[in-house]
Symmetry: C2
Subunit: 188 residues, 2 copies
Amino acid sequence: MARGRKLDEERSEHILGTVLDVLHDVGYDQMRMQDVADRAGVGLSTIYRRWPTKQDLVRASLECPRATEQYVVTDDPRADVQAFLTRMAQDLSGKGAQTMLGFLASLRADPEVADVYRETKIAKMQEFLRSRLAAVLGEDFPDLDLRATAGPAILVYQAAVCGNPIDADAIAGRLTDLLFAPLPVELR
Amino acid sequence: MARGRKLDEERSEHILGTVLDVLHDVGYDQMRMQDVADRAGVGLSTIYRRWPTKQDLVRASLECPRATEQYVVTDDPRADVQAFLTRMAQDLSGKGAQTMLGFLASLRADPEVADVYRETKIAKMQEFLRSRLAAVLGEDFPDLDLRATAGPAILVYQAAVCGNPIDADAIAGRLTDLLFAPLPVELR
């Protein structure tokens, strides 16, 4: 019994990891359940038995351990933010910008999946960045929420909306400087 | 002859203004040429004779005088930026977030119109904000481009991606403070 459960869990993890790969490669708007099944080497029925809808499947994948391993917390909050933004900028380079555009398109076309993304990926990013900023700027710093959205916002806008090529290391460095900049005296 | 040309120009301006209204109300992805014709009170052929494709029509509308009247330059660059961001935040509130999502969806679905937007609206915003920031921070301030994208990026992200309700005055004020903040001494 225990062994069966373990195998079952491993298979679920494998399928959810495949979903993350497909989301990364083609975007939510072009993801088909059959592609996930083929790539994971399982039957469609195996997927539908666990996750009855595409939204369920996406939610589970965005909540699985692999989806949150990028939120690394060390004793250097500034380095944590810079590492996260560098990785996000790399992900958004080239084809990644199309994947983000696919996600943005789905926000309009599929309000249910928009909620899934907001409640998982976007909330998790915001929480992580806010807490790393708070560790340096203080929990009562007035712009924590604004600055926590600024990093992802600027990367998404530059890569996907403006279609600019991104130098991941350079932009992550400059962004991190801006996000951790103390308020000028007159605004404190 | 002169009178005929003037009437012709007025009619073009009226049609392009209608396009801006339709883009604002339903978004590019749901705009139909027939809706524009109906709302402007002209025949479809009148539109197609001047602008053979939907992309031509959108480009012309985004370049017409009414589309650029929001870029007001006074002798107070900070107030100009705040006024612009306030208006953009208001535009993005409520239904405006859907319109922006429609535009974002079209970036993926229709790369040609993506280029039209980038070459007109997005380039114009960037140029305006960059020049107003440069007037205060100096032309050789290292983060001018980054900060010029930060305003629209954060507003679009919060309204359309996160789906947060926006307090236009409050967020425009805080954003303006952040954009004009001098660099900390160690980063100069």
